[in-house]
Amino acid sequence: MVMDNHIGETRTRVAKIWLREDGIVQMVVDHQAKYTLADTKEGLACIVKVSKGKRRPLLADARNLKTMDFAGRQESAAFKDVMSVAILIDSAVSRMIGNVFLATQKTTFPVRLFTSETAAVEWLKEFLQ
């Protein structure tokens, strides 16, 4: 993990993660990222860390995601230290990954796909009230 631009931002091998001022944890996946199980584990550990001991909503920006392996998807779906997850998609590939994920994995948290970051944040904020 490497600290970056945002306050408290943490970098993993394929993403950067930080705690926003509104209490939402944000994660942005690098361009053409190939998410493996190891990357998933590193990312989840990072989310826990930036959440500072609280379960928080997560805005997962997967618009640049190229692939995510099966074990990684399973690990993500079983993650418990998160309140809700909004997945941002826009490319054909990220849409496919997001939709297949939702169709095949049973998550332990509420999850939705968004193409608009604003709409995603609005939805996540509902969990903070």
Partner: protein
């Protein structure tokens, strides 16, 4: 450019179609390689890849579950087979025990209805042969002088036990308890169990194991049951209770028979002379005539009286008279054949029935009896008694009658004449 336009130009369409065909035909490990473009084709390939991974994982779980199920089925099947085997063994055992109980019951009934020891011995032999078809054994009974046990009946192909032995040579008889040996190499064994010569060169090998079950009633030992198993013929270790139960029945049956035979003997024999008594003579005389008629044979009858017997009694006392009667009884039992019926008719009178003897033969035997008795030396209290003589009447069937009354009268009259004519003689009925 629309998707339709793209697909007609893009060679990745064939790759995507091929990937779909691979996955749908069951190759769940088939994967496509998305390009760097990140367009719809890449999305389709990525989606297919993810679908393949999901299906492969699901199939793996199903396979694992199926393997586990098959393993459990295999384990349960093996357990069931073992349980079934045990059950079959148990059922066979129960059936065998049931059969043993039935045979034991049959033996008991047959033994109870046996009239003679020989009948009982035959039943014992048959019962052991049925219950222990591949085993050998024998029933040993004390001999008359009670110093040796001897085989009364034996069964099976080989017998490693001696034909005679003393009580001291048998552990069961020494201790009065059933004695079992399962391994002759290590256990203490009875001295009567030995390797025996079959021929000059061959030997009957020692048995693999044996049981000796003593027959003891009210503290008195009658004999013992011996049962052995040859090497390779199975163990006797589980059969001890059965042999014990059999020996108990045999012991009771033989004791009863002995008692019956003693009572019967006492009821038909004269205790002083050991000869048959008048009652027995009355029973058998008619029967012997009927048999002679049926078989077309003759029947000789001798009736005799000891001359001057009253004087012996008067001068020397009744003890001396009893001695004479006893000695004469013993002499008659020795001189006459087994089928001849020798009876003490009463007092000093005797009656002999000689089956299949002609009149001539009967007279000759009567004369030889008279002569032999005159030679007898009889002692009483260390003193030689005077010689005795006999007055003898002789008759025969059919010469002197066809029924007991006529024949008895004829021989009685002949005896009377013998006495009247001066005693010490033989007179044939007229």
């Amino acid at each position: 450019m629309t998707l339709q336009e793209k697909t007609t130009q893009d060679p990745r369409l064939d790759e995507a179609l091929e990937l779909i065909l691979q996955i749908t035909s069951g190759n769940l490990e088939a994967r496509g390689t998305p390009s760097e473009r990140g367009d719809e084709f890449d999305a389709i390939v990525t989606g297919l890849n993810m679908l393949g991974e999901e299906m492969s994982a699901a199939f793996g779980q199903v396979s694992e579950a199926r393997d586990q199920l098959e393993e459990r089925v295999k384990e349960r099947t093996a357990e069931l087979e073992m349980a079934t085997e045990k059950l079959v063994v148990l059922i066979n055992d129960l059936e065998a025990r049931n059969s043993e109980i039935v045979l034991l019951g049959e033996m008991g009934k047959l033994l109870q209805t046996s009239l003679t020891s020989d009948e009982a011995y035959a039943t014992i032999k048959q019962s052991f042969q049925k219950l222990f078809p591949d085993k050998s054994g024998a029933l040993y009974i004390y001999n008359a002088s009670r110093n040796l046990l001897e085989i009364n009946v034996a069964w099976g192909d080989t017998l490693s036990s001696e034909e005679f032995f003393t009580q001291q040579e048998c552990q069961a008889l020494r201790n009065g308890l059933i004695f079992q040996v399962d391994d002759l190499q290590t256990a203490l064994i009875c001295q009567h169990v030995q390797q025996k010569a079959k021929t000059m060169e061959t030997y009957i090998p020692l048995p693999a194991g044996y049981i000796c079950a003593p027959l003891i009633t009210r503290g008195e030992t009658t004999g013992t049951i011996y049962l052995e198993t040859a090497p390779g013929s199975g163990s006797l270790s589980a059969k001890k209770p059965l042999v014990d139960a059999m020996s108990e029945q045999i012991m009771l049956a033989l004791t009863n028979l002995k008692l019956q035979e003693t009572l019967r003997d006492q009821s038909i024999r004269d205790p002083l002379t050991g000869l048959f008594n008048r009652r027995y003579m009355d029973e058998t005389f008619g029967r012997e005539i009927s048999r002679a008629v049926r078989e077309g044979h003759t029947l000789g009858i001798i009736m005799f009286d000891i001359d001057h017997f009253k004087e012996f009694n008067d001068v020397l006392g009744h003890d001396a008279g009893d001695t004479i009667l006893r000695e004469l009884g013993t002499f008659l039992l020795e001189q006459f054949r087994g089928e001849d019926i020798t009876c003490r008719f009463g007092g000093e009178e005797f009656f002999l029935i000689l089956p299949d003897a002609s009149l001539d033969n009967t007279r000759k035997r009567a004369e030889s009896l008279g002569k032999a008795v005159k030679q007898l030396d009889m002692h009483h209290r260390g003193k030689l008694l005077d010689k005795i003589t006999l007055s003898i009447g002789v008759a025969s069937f059919p010469d002197h009658g066809n029924d007991t009354e006529t024949l008895a009268r004829a021989v009685d009259q002949a005896l009377y004449r013998a006495k009247n004519d001066g005693r010490d003689r033989v007179v044939t009925a007229q």
